[in-house]
């Protein structure tokens, strides 16, 4: 159920956001106090699929620059001012792959200082200036949240998908998607993931989303093209919620297994 709540929370935040999560420009993070703001920072990492530099600024004028890709923290790229950087300088630009990496351990301490006593934190995403090496795994936001006792799920998420087999399936499958849109009626209530794929889904939705054989009740339709393109589309209906996802065809087995698990 954790995955279900996580996606519900994401869909809620997407639906509430004035701009998509991956849009450029500085935004305020939601949260009060160090622990909520820490969770908000980790959620930003968790929401970042494509390679991005995430610059976090607090209301003391301090800055923390993280390189993130595939929902994983790759490295701490920048810390300012120098007084904040002092204890961290040897870890700057060091790749992070595991929680026990010295840079990850030092980052936890740095975040405590960065968030202590601040009221607001903003985030400014930019495209990564350096492509990560293929061997650079990074550390997932999930792992960081678990180790640092922070929740990637908001405190009071309004359900975007109903409980039950289809809602469970859609929420789990969302984690494997390249992009998704959530519909309320015929309106797009939220979108996430890769911008180009999300735009394709949005264009499809604007055309009335007249999928053939669209399920009348709860259900899903999954369509796969030529193997070479490597992408498949899923349309799901769960209660009043409608979700469309584009996902890598290599995840087909996992998607179908998730559906089978949800319906067993």
């Amino acid at each position: 159920m954790r995955d279900v709540r996580k996606l519900k929370d994401k869909l809620d935040r997407l639906a509430a956001a004035e701009t998509p999560a991956a849009a450029s420009g500085r935004r305020d993070l939601a949260g009060e106090g160090p622990q909520e703001l820490l969770a908000a920072i980790l959620r930003e990492i968790d929401d970042t699929l494509l390679g991005r530099e995430l610059d976090f600024h607090n209301d003391r004028g301090e800055m923390l620059g993280l390189d993130v890709s595939g929902r994983r923290l790759l490295r701490v790229r920048a810390v300012a001012p120098e007084t904040l950087q002092e204890t961290f300088s040897e870890h700057l630009d060091q790749p992070i792959s595991e929680l026990r990496d010295p840079a990850a351990v030092a980052l936890r301490e740095l975040l405590q200082v960065f968030l202590d006593g601040v009221r607001t934190v903003t985030v400014e995403p930019r495209k990564l200036s350096r492509r990560p090496r293929e061997s650079q795994l990074g550390c997932s936001a999930d792992a960081l949240a678990t180790a640092w006792d922070a929740s990637l799920i908001g405190e009071d998420p309004a359900p975007a998908l109903p409980d039950g087999p289809v809602g469970t399936f859609l929420a789990s499958a969302g984690d494997l998607a390249l992009a998704w849109i959530a519909l309320s009626g015929e309106e797009i209530a939220g979108r996430g993931g890769d911008g180009n794929h999300a735009e394709r889904l949005a264009a499809l939705a604007e055309g009335g989303f007249a999928l053939p054989g669209k399920p009348r009740g709860d259900g899903c339709i999954l369509l796969s093209g030529n193997d070479e393109t490597g992408a498949s589309l899923l349309y799901g209906a769960a209660g009043e919620a409608r979700v469309a996802l584009i996902f890598p065809s290599e995840n087909l087995a996992r998607i179908t297994a998730l559906w089978q698990a949800a319906n067993s």
């Binding site: 394709r200 999928l211 393109t229 992408a231």
Partner: protein
């Protein structure tokens, strides 16, 4: 080997499949069927028409535009609703041939798709 033998073979290997129909999706016609129970022709026709719509219909083409260029024609479709599962597979040998399968969710979908394509290939080579 007759077409129906290929369909029977598929059902023998995947007992979760209650119906396996072979059809021409350009015409929406079921040409051969293997089923655990006799289904009315209207049900078979509806199944084949769903396959035609999902793989080749007007809206299937619009879905194709949402996928990356080159995705069309769609190769297979799954419809999951009410605890049931329908699978539609386009033949790799003859683009207008397809299998329309009714199964329970427990079926090994990947294995069924792979085996179904192999049977379609064999049918197309006859």
């Amino acid at each position: 080997m007759k077409i129906v033998d290929h369909l029977e073979e598929l059902r023998r290997n995947f007992p979760e499949c209650s119906t396996v129909a072979f059809g021409d999706i350009s015409a929406g016609l079921v040409l051969s069927v293997s089923s655990a129970q006799r289904l009315p022709q209207e049900r078979l026709d509806a199944l084949c028409l769903t396959g035609k719509e999902l793989l080749d219909g007007r809206t299937a083409r619009s879905v194709g535009t949402a996928l990356p260029p080159g995705a069309e024609p769609l190769q297979h479709a799954l419809r999951m609703e009410g605890g049931g599962l329908e699978i539609f597979l386009r033949s790799p040998a003859v683009a207008t041939d397809a299998l329309c399968i009714v199964a329970t969710p427990e079926v090994d979908i990947d294995a069924l798709i792979s085996r179904g394509r192999a049977e379609l290939q064999a049918i197309g080579e006859v």
